[in-house]
Amino acid sequence: MTSRQIRTGIYAALLCAGLGCGNYSNDDVDFQLALPDQADMEAKLQGSVNRADSAEYYRATRAAVLQFNSLVFNLTAFIETVRGYTPTSRNGNERTWGPFPDGSHPDWEMRVVMRRSTESATLLHMDYWVQVRQIGQGESGWASILTGQYTSQGSARTGDGKIHFDVQSPRLAGYPVDSDPGLVELDHLDVCYDKSGDGTHCAGSTVGAAAHVDMQITNLPLADTRSASYVYEVAQDNSGHMQFDWQGTSKDTGLQVKATMVSRWIATGEGRADLIADLTPNLPRQTTLGTDCWGADTVATYSYRVDKGVGVGVDATVCALP
């Protein structure tokens, strides 16, 4: 470090101290509390065990949970970068981080804007946007790639939120979304999460659920997978379920397929998964293609496939869940 740099540092420190500087802020904490944490949305499969002789549908459920958590991780990674930094500007109930250079796209920059609505001492509502724009453009050039909102329910840490991840609007604005292979077919993605404990803030959630997260993925019209959705929910007694819906075109038959796997488990780790498909016109609508039940060790206690019949066990009465 040169003496000039040292002098500059000293002057900067004195200026900072003279004017008062830092990030010591109670208000900033509100904004940080409102940002969704990965742990808020990730799914947890009760008694998750990875063994070779686990039931086939248990392994499929586990794979779905991992894929779901991977999506959650990628989504929250956008926001996590903000959490560790002091806002670039504070304006009443609004905080802005950035603009920062977009590391993947040199001609673009991004920012995060959060706006707080302090409706009462116990209710915190926050809206936030992750936006991109081409360097040199004005304020109107910002396009939102992620829009979110959060409302506290009882405490700042327990609430519900919604995230709308829209890649089509930035794509149309020229933002090189498709340079990421994982986003080539994506149109938009919506997440609703509810960790309030009452399970009433997301459509389709169970009243009284300890946590609920659903994720709706909508791809571009020509994609093989037209849409997919995950619904994860866990009850107060640690029982839970994960429902994975998939709709698209079968590569084998070229037909439109709509399939649903519903996995349910109880606190002991015992569980059941049913694969239901709508393979019209070859099969009647809502045909159960298979069922697996497993014990706490994840090994199948009952297995049924529509084309093979019962493979394990005698009947479904051995299953922990009906």
Partner: protein, 532 residues
């Protein structure tokens, strides 16, 4: 003309004078005793002016025949206040005269004087005005005693003497009337203070003489001329070798009548110290429990000495060529204690209350360690932003560097506390840490002659405050800024080098992260300092 020759010459005259009894029926004495350590611009504060006034007040009310209700002690007040006090006292004197009492007014001042004016802080009183006021005063006898630099200017006119004894050549009525002025220094000299005796030379010896050591006639009474002669001789002797040069008290009088005036009656107060005639000759220092010399006895080969001193614990010290003789004295109320040589013991000179030239205290360094409690005034700030904290502090101080009796200090403190932030029903515990740096400038004042002193001044601090949340998803936060404040406190000298201190600070802090907010906080601290 030597002192002894002058005294010898004055002696027969004094013998002819009627020695008025201070307690004689029909006589009433009044005293206005003023002291002011401050002299305003272009002067340095005095250390002992108010203390000298207290000592004079004590001796006049104890053995000077002045009833406590007739003695006004005016400390660190303005010239106007003193003037008003004098008017009030004169009204009472006039009333006493109407009742047929003979009256005596003693005006004493210890403080700064410059350019012909007495200084009372920023206010001033012309010496000529004071002299005129005393000259035309209503009391039968007015005695002015002025202990300040160049105070002899007041005596440059009629009757001024720079000599060790009165040579009163009054005649006529037995009832003396008129004015006597005593000053501690001549018109071109400084009046000097001494840290060793804890006062100005002149006032110290005047008080010591009035307590009995000036009683050359051995009649247990000290007359004005005896007291002056004693104070003159001792002041000149002790200041002769000083850097400022010898200090010569002066006197003048304009009296009608032929009575010398008894200022103190030692016999009236049966409380003090008695040095018998067979005690060894020499200087006996009577040192009070605070280590200051309360009085001195110049014991000659022949004759005894008695000093009037209030009850209390004292030390007696007598210097020999190679050692000291020291001992303890406990004067009980109403008791005169005899100094017995057999009860003194030898001690090294390191125990000597060294007397000599006045010292200009040099820069003094001290290092202090203490604990600090800090808290913001604003409740919400205290509860959720900057919680009350405990800090450990190290102070480095230098005294008498910027100017005499001023302290310049630097301090470093570190500490913290546990806090809790509640946001929308969510409790967020955090660990609060603080580092402070500061510099303080504060004048200090001694309180009495004990080891107690007080100080008050300004401080500029730098604070670095940070917090870590237990919830690690919330990033660490910090805030740094300068913060001005006021400081005041007390210091108590425990021993030669150790000082116990306590202080309070009030600071302003501009918090400007969420919004601009003017905040204040206080600090209380206590600790131990070591003076190098």
């Amino acid at each position: 003309m030597s002192f002894l020759r002058l005294v010898a010459r004055a002696g027969p005259l004094l013998a002819l004078l009627f020695v008025a009894d201070a307690q004689a029926a029909g006589q009433r004495r009044f005293a206005l005793i003023a002291g002011n350590d401050q002299g305003g611009a272009d002067t340095r504060p005095l250390r002992y002016a108010t203390e000298d006034a207290r000592k004079m007040h004590a001796v006049l009310t104890q053995v000077g025949g002045v009833a406590p209700g007739d003695a006004l002690l005016v400390l660190n007040q303005s010239a106007q206040d003193v003037w008003r006090s004098l008017s009030g006292l004169e009204a009472r004197i006039a009333e006493a005269r109407m009742h047929g009492d003979r009256t005596i007014l003693i005006f004493y001042f210890s403080g700064h004087a410059k350019d012909g004016e007495l200084r009372f802080g920023e206010s001033r009183l012309r010496l000529d005005d004071l002299k005129a006021r005393l000259s035309s005063g209503v009391a039968d006898i007015r005695i002015g005693i002025i202990d300040s630099c160049r105070s002899g200017l007041v005596n440059r006119t009629k009757g001024a003497r720079r000599a060790p004894a009165f040579e009163i050549e009054a005649a006529g009525s037995q009832e003396t009337r008129g004015l006597v002025l005593l000053t501690s220094a001549s018109g071109d000299e400084d009046a000097q203070e001494s840290d060793d005796i804890g006062g100005s030379y002149f006032s110290h010896y005047l008080v010591s003489g009035l307590r009995g050591d000036a009683d050359r006639s051995r009649d247990r009474r000290v007359s004005l001329s005896e007291a002056y002669a004693y104070a003159y001789a001792r002041t000149v002797a002790d200041t002769a070798e000083s850097a400022a040069g010898a200090q010569h008290p002066t006197f003048s009088y304009d009296l009608k009548g032929n009575a010398d005036l008894v200022l103190t009656d030692i016999a009236s107060r049966r409380e003090g110290v008695y040095v018998p005639g067979d005690a060894p000759a020499g200087t006996y220092y009577i040192v009070d429990s605070n280590g200051f010399i309360a009085a001195e006895v110049q014991k000659s080969e022949e004759g005894d000495r008695q000093l009037a001193l209030p009850a209390g614990h004292y030390h007696v010290r007598r210097r020999l060529a190679d050692r000291l003789r020291i001992g303890d004295l406990q004067i009980a109320p109403g008791q005169v204690v005899t100094v017995e040589e057999s009860r003194l013991h030898d001690a090294p000179f390191s125990d000597d209350p060294v007397k000599g030239v006045p010292r200009e205290p040099g820069a003094q360094l001290s290092l202090a360690l203490g604990g600090v409690m800090q808290s913001f005034f604003d409740g919400p700030t205290r509860d959720s932003l900057f919680p009350p904290s405990a800090l450990l502090a190290v102070d480095f101080e230098v005294r008498n560097f910027l100017r005499r009796d001023w302290m310049w200090g630097f301090d470093l403190a570190s500490g913290g506390a546990k806090g809790n932030l509640d946001r929308y029903g969510t409790a967020l515990p955090f660990r609060f840490s603080e580092l402070t740096l500061g510099t303080t400038i504060a004048p200090e004042w001694r309180l009495g002659r004990g080891g107690l002193s007080t100080f008050g001044g300004v401080r500029l601090g730098f604070v670095l405050m940070s917090r870590k949340f237990d919830d690690r998803t919330i990033p660490d936060q910090f805030f740094a800024t300068f913060t001005p404040g006021l400081v005041a406190g007390l210091r108590y000298q425990l021993a030669d080098s150790f000082v116990l201190f306590g202080r309070g600070r009030v600071h302003y802090l501009l918090y400007n992260i969420d919004e601009n907010r003017s905040l204040g906080y206080w600090e209380l601290s206590a600790g131990l300092a070591y003076d190098f």
